[in-house]
């Protein structure tokens, strides 16, 4: 089910009413039933796949916890990983793997036929797979005890606010909240509604309106674009994906909050980052924290952490340089491929690893961040936005041409500008200015006295009113969230 739809609003109202009206002992049933209904509104048959995945991890984690025998524990962990990653590979990477085999075959003169089957990617499989894997690994690592009730575990895995596109939450953060006897709190309800309104507004007003410009820009023959066009296209996509994904997180956080459950934040003004490391502490925080704890730190030989907050932590300089560099590049390669089954996504991951590596190796970067934060921000903004080129490109060759444009000084000319239209340039300037202005306003208001905050009540009413007006006007589930495809 799409969040940006009337269907979801109706679903949420009914689910919330049932949740708060019925006694506490029924709540987990209510939540899991509504979660499966939420998923089945897309395709019911895939909810069976999700339940199967949950069953495997429930059994495996129970078996791991029950025994002290290392071989048995590892065996059950491998069962869980094989099933979860196997399903992910089958549904998400079959085409990619087969295409590469065909390419290699073709290069060696052997033509292979089309795969001949149509595979539908189950919604949210990348997210719930990571979530169930984290649970089993956490039990294996003895960070948590497995839950005794399957319904609790099923609710944790399928809980609809975070089911399709995260945040990817750890069991210890959510399960205790799910099982606690939560009391209805009107302020939680209000905060949740406000957050949902903000999320819908970001999605409908920004992401969906920027999307056609991006589609158009990336549909252009890249050889016709000049450097300014490429920058504009990539900035627009950077804004689109931020508004789209952070909007989803806002609605997820808001929906959970209405039910009295607190999710950690998933975004923290990522385009204000001063360095790549900083960016990954602000962008899709729950994913970068997951990658940190289950891939990067173990590969770098460092102790893992146990929260879905904080984002990436780069291993300290005292560690083995080769080991942490390998871990860095491998982790980001996986991160790239997690986003999409294509080499463009892998390139996106490796590009980010390279940025982190360069910033780590060049001492001048630290100096820049410390002495000239404005310049460091501008530089990181450009580098971070350029990373979206491969992410959004249809092919490696398109990405290569677009990169070549921005790296060629001769392409910085207005005379051959293909993307005309002033609206593209205005769009970038407006969104960037609005983002900065909002950041400073929010920061300013947060640090003011109670009196000023009260004086801003009318402004808040007007803002909410405006957003509701806009949502009523434009809400159509025309565009699904970008992260649904991951």
């Amino acid at each position: 089910m799409l969040f940006n739809s009337w269907g979801y609003i109706l679903f949420l109202v009914i689910a919330v009413l049932c949740h708060w009206i019925l006694p506490h002992k029924y709540r987990l049933f209510i939540l899991s039933a509504f979660s499966i209904l939420f998923y089945s509104m897309w395709r019911w048959e895939f909810s069976l796949l999700m339940i199967f995945s949950a069953c495997v991890d429930y059994v495996a984690s129970g078996q791991i916890y029950k025994t002290e025998n290392r071989t048995t524990r590892i065996s059950w962990l491998l069962v869980s990983l094989t099933v979860n990653l196997g399903l992910l590979v089958i549904f998400k990477y079959t085409y990619f793997i087969y295409d590469n085999i065909r390419f290699i075959g073709s290069a060696s003169g052997q033509e292979l036929p089309d795969l001949g089957i149509r595979i539908i990617l189950p919604l949210g499989i990348s997210f719930y797979t990571f979530q169930t894997i984290s649970y089993t690994i956490d039990v294996y690592r003895r960070v948590i005890k497995p839950v005794n009730s399957f319904i609790v575990f099923l609710t944790y895995v399928t809980f609809w606010p975070q089911l399709i596109a995260g945040p990817i939450l750890r069991a210890k953060e959510v399960i205790s909240q799910l099982t606690s006897d939560r009391k209805f709190d009107i302020n939680n309800m209000s905060a949740g509604i406000e957050r949902i309104i903000i999320g819908l507004f970001k999605k409908i007003a920004f992401a969906d309106n920027i999307a056609p410009l991006v589609d158009n820009a990336f549909a252009f023959d890249p050889s016709l674009l000049n450097a300014f066009d490429v920058w504009v296209a990539t900035f627009l996509f950077g804004f689109q994906i931020y508004f789209d994904f952070s909007a989803y997180s806002d609605i997820a956080i808001g929906s959970a909050r209405i039910l009295g459950i607190h999710f950690p934040e998933n975004f923290d003004w990522p385009y204000l980052a001063l360095s790549p490391k900083d960016f990954w502490k602000r962008w899709h925080i729950s994913l970068s924290s997951w990658v940190r704890d289950y891939l990067y730190l173990p590969l770098a030989g460092k102790p893992f952490m146990t929260e879905s907050t904080g984002g990436i932590t780069v291993a300290a300089e005292t560690d083995s340089k080769g080991k942490r560099t390998n871990a860095l590049f491998f982790t980001w390669l996986i991160m790239g491929l997690w986003h999409g089954a294509g080499w463009t996504f892998a390139l996106w991951g490796v590009y980010h690893a390279l940025l982190i590596f360069i910033y780590r190796e060049i001492k001048a970067a630290d100096w820049l961040i410390e002495k000239l934060p404005g310049a460091a921000w501008a530089l990181m903004l450009m580098l971070g936005m350029a990373a979206w080129i491969p992410f959004r490109s249809e092919s490696l060759s398109q990405a290569a041409i677009m990169f070549s444009k921005i790296l060629n000084p001769l392409q910085y000319t207005f005379s051959t500008r293909a993307l005309f239209v002033t609206s593209y340039y205005l769009g970038v300037m407006t969104v960037l200015s609005a983002m900065l202005a909002t950041y400073f306003i929010v920061k300013y208001i947060n640090h003011q006295s109670e009196i000023l905050k009260n004086a801003l009540v009318y402004a808040k009413i007007a803002t909410i009113g405006f957003m509701v007006f806009f949502i009523l006007l434009y809400m159509r589930p025309v565009r699904q969230f970008i992260y649904f495809q991951f």
Binding site: M1, L2, S5, W6, G7, L10, S40, M41, W42, R43, W44, I120, L121, I186, N187, M189, S190, A191, I193, E194, I197, N216, D221, L224, A418, F420, E450, K453, N454, V457, K460, I461, A462, T463, I464, G465, F466, M467, V468, F469, I471, L472, L473, Y474, R476, P477, Q480
Partner: protein, 383 residues
């Protein structure tokens, strides 16, 4: 903020947004964005002859097809006339006003010709859209004797293809791709994209059905909700008008640029020419004669809309190309409509695209005269 004030703020915000929406939407009950886009006092007309549709827009093509089939059964010659909004829009529309296609049919009847004109048009149609329209007839097995194309210089800058037309396409056969070349291949690629969208995994799901049901209920129960499309159009027009006025004031005050000459990027001309090429190839393949005419333009030079030099160069090239081809004719109708028959845009400027009934008469008459002449003399006719 005290604990009880926060929920009240959210509630008041919600209600103020809801009431503002209802109030604003209800103001739009009489607003018609489609007509607004044509200019001040300019309206769309669908033409009929003896209760049969002889003109159609993308969403009303079926009646034209049915008429075509009926004409074919009576072995009447058919000319398909494709173009942009000039063909279906009439400025200061009054009862009895006719479109050019009606006047052309009347002229053909008067001279006793066994020929019927059928028109299909859509606003801002580029050559890819015209090609799609032609293919829509072809896919039904409806092949005309004449294909008349309104060449609109301004629409060469229209990139993309109109989804409302693409949605009506069926699979384009390989033979058509082979005959039409790159232009029709581009249409096929675009159609595949539209089809992929239509076949996406979210289509036909329970959620989609629920959403349709909810929206239809909202339209019936929430006052003004059914006018939200009009409100969106009105909002968009207001913003664009505001920006345009701002720009005009800036230009006037700074003298930065005195006139606005729309740019037609070269790559878009080249891209659209591929579609025209495909149209010509398919028409010739179908043994259909083709008349390409330069769309009438407001005659006063000071109100000329484009870069005169580039405009003339484009049509010179087009005319030359047509002369080189058998059964493809070119006609220059730029100045056939006098100044007094043209409309006015919404911003009060002279309209260079749409005109009145009298102008439709001149256009329809000119087309039929030339078709008559070409039918007799072929390339020797005066063009």
């Amino acid at each position: 903020m005290k604990s009880f004030t926060y929920p009240i703020i959210i509630l008041i915000g919600l209600l103020s947004g809801l009431f503002s929406f209802v109030f604003a939407a209800l103001q739009q009950s009489d607003f018609n964005p489609e007509e607004f886009g044509l200019g001040r006092n300019t309206f769309t007309k669908i033409a009929y002859k003896e209760n049969f549709a002889i003109s159609g827009l993308p969403d009303t093509l079926d009646p034209v097809n049915r008429h075509f089939r009926k004409l074919r059964k009576t072995e009447q010659s058919v000319a398909i006339w494709l173009g942009a909004s000039q063909l279906h829009a009439i400025n200061l529309l009054t009862e009895g006003d006719k479109l050019a296609v009606e006047y052309a049919n009347a002229a053909a009847d008067n001279r006793g010709a066994n020929l019927a004109y059928l028109q299909t048009s859509t606003p801002n149609a580029n050559f890819h859209d015209l090609l799609t329209m032609y293919q829509l007839f072809r896919q039904e097995g409806l092949f005309p004797d004449w294909l008349i194309i309104a060449a609109v210089y301004d629409d060469l800058r229209e990139k993309g293809m109109q989804v409302s037309l693409l949605k009506q396409l069926k699979e384009i056969p390989d033979e058509t791709i082979d005959s039409g070349g790159k232009g029709i291949k581009d249409v096929l690629d675009e159609w595949l994209l539209v089809k992929r969208e239509a076949d996406s995994p979210t289509r036909g799901t329970p959620h989609e059905r629920l959403e349709k049901w909810l929206v239809s209920n909202l339209e019936n129960t929430l006052p003004g909700y059914k006018y939200r499309g009009r409100l969106i159009a009105q909002t968009s027009i207001s913003i664009q008008t505001f920006l345009l006025n701002l720009r005009t004031q800036f230009i006037t005050k700074t003298g930065f640029r005195k006139t606005r000459v729309p740019k037609i990027p070269k790559h878009l001309i080249a891209w659209n020419n591929e579609a025209l090429e495909a149209l010509i190839k398919l028409a010739l393949h179908d043994r259909c004669k083709m008349l390409i005419y330069k769309q009438p333009h407001r005659p006063s030079e000071e109100q000329f809309y484009h870069n005169r030099e580039k405009y003339d160069a484009y049509f010179d090239e087009l005319s030359k190309k047509c002369r080189e081809l058998k059964n493809v004719y070119y006609l220059d109708l730029e100045i056939i409509v006098p100044e007094q028959y043209w409309g006015v845009t919404n911003s009060g400027r002279p309209d260079v695209f749409h005109f009145r009934d009298e102008a439709h008469y001149l256009l329809g008459k000119s087309i039929d005269e030339h078709i008559a002449e070409l039918s007799v003399k072929g390339k020797n006719a005066v063009q």
